[in-house]
Symmetry: C2
Subunit: 205 residues, 2 copies
């Protein structure tokens, strides 16, 4: 059977979304044909709005329609800045409801191989913002891989001359996991950064 062009095009679009492989993309494309006319209309409208109405916040890198729900929130702590390398991470952190400061999104992580220099990922903008807004603490919430480590090290050096506390997320055992399923490095880190039982909830100790 010859393939249907529209289905192929739809599958190609679904395929662009993370976690969607070619089989899933094809399944979703056919499923889209099964939507009612009204459901298709709504889908098209939502996508058109995503293209036309949603803006990327120039300050934090998150998305908004009228004004940034994060940067414009007067109840948030403006002296604590959490740095991520991808604005998707902001959503993951917001869901925890355990951070109430502001955000800064780098344009990726340092990588000589991919030609991503400090300038390219926006380190200058970060330094400028820390200085101008008199930020008191910068929390580096970057990945734990090679690029993440390199970027974290680079940023802590760059930020050192400014009077700002620089911290990183705690490494350790994910809650609800058994040791036997974890890699050696994670276990080693959880031993190295062990927390005294008397410290209770004080993670900054």
């Amino acid at each position: 059977m010859e393939p249907i062009k529209t289905v192929e095009e739809l599958a190609r679009s679904f395929r662009k979304l993370p976690g969607v492989g070619s089989k899933t993309a094809e399944r979703l494309a056919y499923a889209t044909l099964h939507l009612t006319k009204e459901e298709k209309e709504r889908f098209i409208l939502a996508l058109t709005d995503a293209r036309d109405k949603v803006t990327k916040c120039p300050r934090c890198g998150f998305f908004y329609e009228e004004r940034c729900p994060l940067c414009s929130d007067p109840t948030r702590d403006r002296k604590t800045l959490l740095v991520v390398s991808d604005s998707k991470d902001i959503l993951a952190i917001e869901k925890t409801k355990s951070f109430h400061g502001l955000y800064f999104t780098l344009d990726g992580l340092l990588s000589p191989l991919k030609n991503r220099t400090a300038e390219a990922i926006g380190v200058d903008r970060l330094v400028e913002r820390v200085r101008e807004e008199k930020v008191e603490e910068v929390i580096l919430a970057l990945g734990t891989d090679m690029e993440g480590e390199t970027t974290r090290l680079y940023l802590s050096n760059v930020l050192a001359p400014l009077s700002v506390k620089v911290s990183r997320l705690a490494y350790g055992i994910p809650v609800g996991t058994h040791l036997e399923y974890l890699d050696n490095l994670t276990i080693a880190q959880s031993i190295q950064f062990r927390v005294g039982m008397d410290k209770g909830e004080d993670h900054h100790g």
Copy 2:
């Protein structure tokens, strides 16, 4: 953080697709924002085409843009009709490349509880087609649950007065599965409908 309306709308659309739960829908909605402008354009265009260009074939229930790739294919065996209850199943069967007849899609399965009568699911249309096109064999490829069994029984009774062979898909052990993972009924069926080793590939024997 207040939710973004467009993201909620996008998630609602993704949620309509089978196999997409609310968490996946939200993840896909945010991922859609991350697409480039060109990728969004393409996605919108593909969806618009799905709405405007794709037609459901009135004969077999599958989709096409210009003419049905199945019904219009002169190389297919027009005397064998495979009946499904959902046009998605046509795709699954086509992928096996092991059926070369034509298709008929019922509007679901018989269900007194859901008020789906023989008339509602299109049994009359099926009988009419079998009679008019002098179909020689009808293969019932319906589900193996209660509704599927009921519909299969009903159809074989309705088709009995016509001079047409009625068959159903073989029940048995899925290829590549171990017995220990299978339910009792499947194993019992695979024993009841066992095939003599000398029969080789002759499934109709």
